[in-house]
């Protein structure tokens, strides 16, 4: 008996040690372990959807409008929340500890890592499910990665270039790659995306070939390759058209339209509200206690938006319930929801990232650069946008440089508040010319500071000059 029992005991010990590996393995039910996924088209679609979710924090939180609009000549700070912070952008005194700047950087790399994770897991794999979907999903991930790297490289210059997912806490200290190298990756990704994406989005909010081409053209213009940009844009021209009325662009009912829209960031009812709107919304609308009205159009912008321009009443907002505002605000993103609650959840309207008017103006810009002056074709592209706004066509006879400024003015009128201005000025080498009076310093403010926490945590990271 005792022999039996002691044998049992020893057996228990032995069985324990052989079974222990399995016993101590974790099974995180309800959570998906990275790697145990990406086998079917459905799973890959969800993974790609996951990448899209980072667009909201990246592109359209308060953070990105601070750099694209406040750090330009389009907007000025009025009052309200985060005043000191906003003023720092307006006056080019942004510091490395700035939280909004960090959020852009963080959300950007979260998106890139999510895209890298999808791409790495789809590589060399054939998904089960509907055939033909896999290249599209890969194309979307490539587009999103390129889209994000484009913003980051524009904002920060040289970047840690990651094209593989982060899988271990070790070895994350990656040094910066030259901006040219980042652009190479972007172009390569976009070329693949162009080849793999369909012209019509798979579903609302998903990338398509036209979006990839538009972005590619912007990259090519940034790289001073106007001929290539013209070639890219030619593939988009005629694939979309302008709404007859400028106001139709921002109607809730026209979200994700196939008329003018090319790529939109999706917003909806809570918790997906368009939170950037609050910054454009005056105090009189939001009510006592919820002070926003952070961004107001600058004097320059107001001067450009003449009363005859049909875009002016759509863009500017001057009174509420009969009470006039101290100064006009931007109204185009305000739908019926805005002003109905005290909460800061604001509107639900989508954010128009690329639309056909952008393509036309880019085309004008690219032709002007490629042909060293505005051709008829370039003027025609510009005038399509002007005519819809009820303005007289731009007369011929502008120099190449004058035409650059004319297009920039048109872009300001057309896209005020849509997050283009700083990038437009940068692409056309006009940052110093337009922004020096706000505190812009050549050699420093072409890029923003690398966030402090990245420098703290990544010992191979360097700060941008002047910060």
């Amino acid at each position: 008996m005792k022999k039996f029992l002691s044998t049992c005991f020893v057996a228990a010990l032995l069985i324990g040690s052989t079974a222990c590996e399995k016993f101590l393995e974790e099974d995180p039910k309800g959570q998906v372990a990275t790697g145990a996924f990406y086998n079917t088209v459905g799973e890959a679609t969800q993974a790609v959807t996951g990448v899209y979710t980072f667009l909201r924090p990246l592109y359209l939180g308060n953070s990105m409008t601070l750099s694209s609009e406040m750090a330009s000549d389009a907007f000025t700070f009025v009052s309200g929340a985060g005043g000191a912070l906003v003023t720092l952008y307006e006056t080019f005194q942004i510091v490395p500890t700035d939280q909004a700047n960090l959020r852009t950087y963080q959300a950007g790399y979260q998106l890139i890592n999510a895209a890298n994770t999808v791409l790495a897991n789809l590589q060399g794999k054939t998904l089960t499910g509907t055939p033909g979907k896999q290249p599209i999903l890969e194309g979307e991930a490539l587009f999103l990665r390129a889209f994000t790297y484009y913003h980051l490289v524009q904002l920060y210059g040289d970047l840690p270039l990651r094209t593989e997912p982060s899988t271990s806490v070790a070895g994350l200290d990656i040094p910066r790659s030259p901006a040219a190298k980042v652009y190479e990756t972007i172009v390569a990704d976009l070329q693949k995306a162009v080849a793999q994406l369909p012209e019509r989005s798979e579903a609302a909010g998903r990338a398509n070939k036209l979006a990839a081409l538009t972005l590619l053209a912007k990259v090519q213009l940034s790289l001073k390759q106007p001929e290539a940009a013209v070639a890219s844009l030619k593939q988009v021209i005629g694939k979309r058209s302008l709404y007859k009325e400028y106001a139709d662009v921002f109607k809730l009912a026209n979200e994700n339209n196939t008329v003018e829209s090319i790529f939109e960031v999706q917003y909806g009812l809570s918790p997906f509200n368009n939170d950037v709107v609050q910054n454009y919304t005056p105090l009189e609308v939001t009510g006592v206690g919820f002070v926003f009205q952070v961004y107001a159009p600058s004097k320059e912008a107001l001067a450009l938006l003449t009363p005859t321009d049909k875009r002016t009443p759509v863009t500017l907002w001057s009174s509420f319930n009969g009470k006039p505002f101290v100064q006009p605000f931007v109204r185009k993103f305000n739908d019926a929801l805005v002003g109905t609650t005290q909460a800061n959840d604001a509107g639900q309207i989508n954010w128009p990232v690329f639309r056909y008017a952008d393509v036309l103006l880019l085309y004008a810009e690219a032709l002007n650069a490629a042909q060293k002056g505005p051709s008829v074709e370039a003027l025609d592209a510009l005038n399509q946008v002007r005519l819809r706004a009820g303005l007289a066509p731009q007369a011929a006879g502008l120099s190449q440089s004058q035409f650059v400024d004319a297009v920039l003015d048109e872009r300001l009128r057309e896209f005020l508040g849509e997050g283009h201005r700083w990038f437009d000025l940068k692409r056309n080498d006009r940052l110093a010319a337009y922004l020096t009076k706000y505190g812009f310093k050549t050699g420093t403010h072409e890029v923003f500071p690398i966030p402090r926490v990245e420098l703290d945590a990544n010992k191979n990271m360097t700060q941008n000059q002047g910060y």
Partner: protein, 1190 residues
Amino acid sequence: MPISTQPRPWLWCSLCLVGLWQPTTSAQVLASNKTATRTTQQRASTNGQPLLLRDALLLLMQERKVEILFDERLLGTRRTAAVRRPNATVSAILTHLLAGSGLKFNRLRNNTYLIVEETPRPSDRPSDAATPAAPSTDFGSALPSSALPKPGSTPPAERQIAVDRTLTGRVVSETNEGLPGVSVVLKGTSRGTTTNVEGRFQLSIPEGPAATLVFSYVGYVTQEIAVGNQTGLEVKLAADAQSLNEVVVVGYGTVRRSDLTGSVVSIKSEDLARSTVTSLDQGLAGRAAGVQVTQQSGQPGGATSVRIRGISSINSANEPLYVIDGFPYYNDNSGTTSNVISGAPAQNMLSTINPGDIESVEVLKDASATAIYGARGANGVILITTKRGKAGKARIEVDAYTGVQEVVKIIPLLNARQYAEFRNENYINLLGLNGKGLPTYTDAEVAALGEGTNWQKEIFRVAPMQSLQVSASGGNETLRYSVSGSYLDQKGIVIGTDLRRYTGRVNLDAQLSKRLKLGNNFTVSYVASNVGRTGGGTNGVNGVQSPTAGNIIQDALFFNPVVPVYDANGNYTLDNASGTIAYAAGPGNKGNTPNANPVAVAALATQQNFTTRLLDNIFAEYAILPSLTFRSSFGIDYLFNRQNSFIPSTLSIGLPGGNGAVGTANTLSWLTENTLNFSQTRGAHSLQALAGFSTQKYQTEYLAVSGRDFPTDVINVYNMGSAAIQNPPNTGFLGWSLMSYLGRVNYSFRDRYLFTASIRADGSSKFGANNKFGYFPSAAFAWKLHEEPFIKNLNTFTELKLRLSAGRTGNQEIPAYQSLSTLGVVRFPNSNTAQAIGLAPTRLGNPDIRWESTSQYDAGIDVGLFNNRVQLTLDAYYRKTNDLLLFVQLPFSSGFENALQNIGSVQNKGLELSLQTVNLNKALTWRTNFNIAINRNKVLDFGNETERYIGADYNLTKGLALGVIRVGEPLGNFVGFINDGIFKNQEEVDRGPKSGFDYVGSRRFVDLNNDGKINDADRAIIGNALPKFTGGIQNSFSYKNFNLDFFFQFVYGNEVYNMTQLELEFLNGRQNQSVTVLDRFQAGVNENTDVARTGGYVNIRQTHSRWVEDGSFVRLKNVMLSYDLPLSAWNVRGLTARLYVNGQNLWLLSKYRGYDPEVNINPQSNTLLGFDYTSYPSAKLYTFGLKLGF
């Protein structure tokens, strides 16, 4: 030497009874006679000579699990020759062993024998004791119990010296059981006797009143009684709770207190019974040195926090491990097992255990004691042992008490008129600023106002409570049982709150054969409580928002005193009924605050918790050899928790259409353990060894649903599907598993030098693939100096023991799955009303993460003086925790913000002293227990950070840090500005420093860096929540049938951040205020003050030093007076009855202005300590009870 004054020669050996490595002690009669005999034979033959009689007796004790008392000097070097019969009874063997030795034995009790000299007396009658004893025979007076008179029989006729008289009497225990074998000696002589099986004795004493008898008995306090002219005595001996021979439960076994090598505090059921606690953690407060208990709220069943020897972790949990009858349990008050729906007050799962079922609580503090619990031992271990049956007559006990509770304190607030004046002044001041304000109350209205409503008085009540517990225990050699049932009904001092608890317990022990024993511990409990909306503060969005309505305590403090409870129609006054325009000012809006009528909230809103717990542990023990036992056990702990929350539409906070939530959590934990115990004593060597293997698996599943806008309030939470707005259901799963190997060796040499070494290897699922197993060794040495001749000869020390220990323990209380990379569910709107589910990387796994590791060194000394009337234990310790599990910042370019890594270090060092004295030991006995502990905490390393501000997302002061973790500083620091009074005039304002909100009458802060500005750089450490020392003192008096206990608890040197006071001096005109606001700054009227002016200054909620208050206190925690009814006259055997009255929290000495300085709204937090924010106040308690036993 008379035995009465020198009990030390007695070697009391209960080693075998104790069964050193057996978790259960009472039924270890396993030894096979055959084996026992063979062992003895082998030893005898190996030695080539007969065995020492002493060793033979020790061996017999061990093998037969009996107690044999003898004086070593009597035995001398006597040897015994005979070979014993294997199947003989102990008596037969003893007879055989002692044959021809001149010794004989008396059987004192079942399993207890006393060896005495065979004296050639003419008679064995007690009266012989009157004859002066011969010098050579100290034990001449000790008589076989069989010779004593039978109860009720007439004392034998006197034939002694004429001057003597005969005294008869009985010696009983505290439970009125007769105590056999008690030594009764006439003081100053060697004349004496012992009591018989029923505790009766008879003794001849000299005539005259001067005679004093000394009653001594091992395990009891020696008592002297002046006989006076009495002829019959009933003497009650008090158990010596700190007796050296007391058995102490340690991890996976028990040990004699005198053999402890580690630092262990033992609290017996008698001590717990000194107050009527409803949860055992309350009973620990102040009673054990180095154990600090903090209660989050006075709510029945409210959450507590227990800290043993300071805080060793920053990110992991710090509560001790509880082991309930061998089943480990972590009491996580905030975990999903106890909190399923958000916003509900935290629950204390320990309150599911009935304290009346507890036999003993052992607090294991040093590494020698805790290392056997390996990766879970770093925060100390609390062992809970429930009562077990003992062989003997069935005993039934009934304990019933009833009581009332009331709030300790009401915070003085403005009355209606003062409030109206204050509010008007607020708007007039605002008027001056922005031209908008107008007085809220007209002069006529103000004049008509009086006291108004005191909302605190409206919600507090004198709350009854009652408890009934019935237990039965008993059994025989083969089957023993202990069964109990209890019921507790406690109303809370806040209206609408209560707790009902039903528990049942069956503990069984069955001796299936001589070798095989089975046992089972089964507990079931059900706790239903209305917790009320009394949870910690929930709050608005920006830093300047006021508290949310609907917290009863907050509402009682902040709600408008002008408003009556009921309106003219008898309905609740629901001020601010629209719920949304909370802050609008102006004459039309007399609704002042975002708060609601607390009486209405308490009456109409539902907030309930229901907990069912099943805890069962079944075990078998098999004696492979007399010295080797195998034990196997399997247990489960099943917790089912349900929470309901409903706010009807009649309350503004319930708009629109009511707001409901229901959540459940099912938690199952199972445990298997297999251990081998070896125990053997050979001559001077004694060795015990333990080896074991254990696995535990824990899994919990939760489900919570919530919705808004119900068709009618009648539906409450019982049809969540009818809500018009359905929130997504929240479900989840959490599991972990632990696989462990453990081993321990105890070795003692000559019962003087004790060595303990233990090791546990823990494999935990929570840890990374590269670090699944951790090893936790410990070693300890103790030296019983009092057994050394040079100490013995001093005749000073009853006990003098040095202890040294060192070891390593771990902390694995981090959330599961942190080592894995996972994809999280994210949502993407694919139209304005629909959404798509996506998956995105949310966590970067770290396969290297492992337990936090605490190295602890302890040096202790145990001293017993004057026959143990003074006992002192002093411990010094140093604990250093390395490999702290912290979320370390990653390069954001990785796509991740942080990952859990082992980095950082914290130390605790301290001193603990406990002192027990028997101050008086006559008819009146007076005992004192005192303990004090000092702990110093310091952060040594915080990874790549040197400091981290914490609490920035804290609801109340969102955006403002409340605490700071800084290398070189202790945890628990408050951070903020230093209050520098009020700007009295414009000149002072102009002089600055400027904070951006500087006006005449606003607060000024100290400009630490003298840059003229008040900003983050001017923040300093403005207080610390950790006490400098803590402790308690208990005095127990006993006179005849009366017992009186009173217990003071004290905490010194800690600070409390009084956020309640901050709100009560918020000065914004929107909520009622403390009376201190009457002293507010009023230009030209009252300028010499430290209270700012009213008028809405944003910096008012800045964390600053005015809100830091001294949290030191002395509390009369408990007073209990009991009276044992003199029932002996009834002659009902074993009948006892005790009446008692108990008072708790009767007196508090503290400068603290809030309800109670012993508070933390975030009770188990390691970093945000000592915050008071409208916590449920503590209560005074008076109970009256009766304990019956028969």
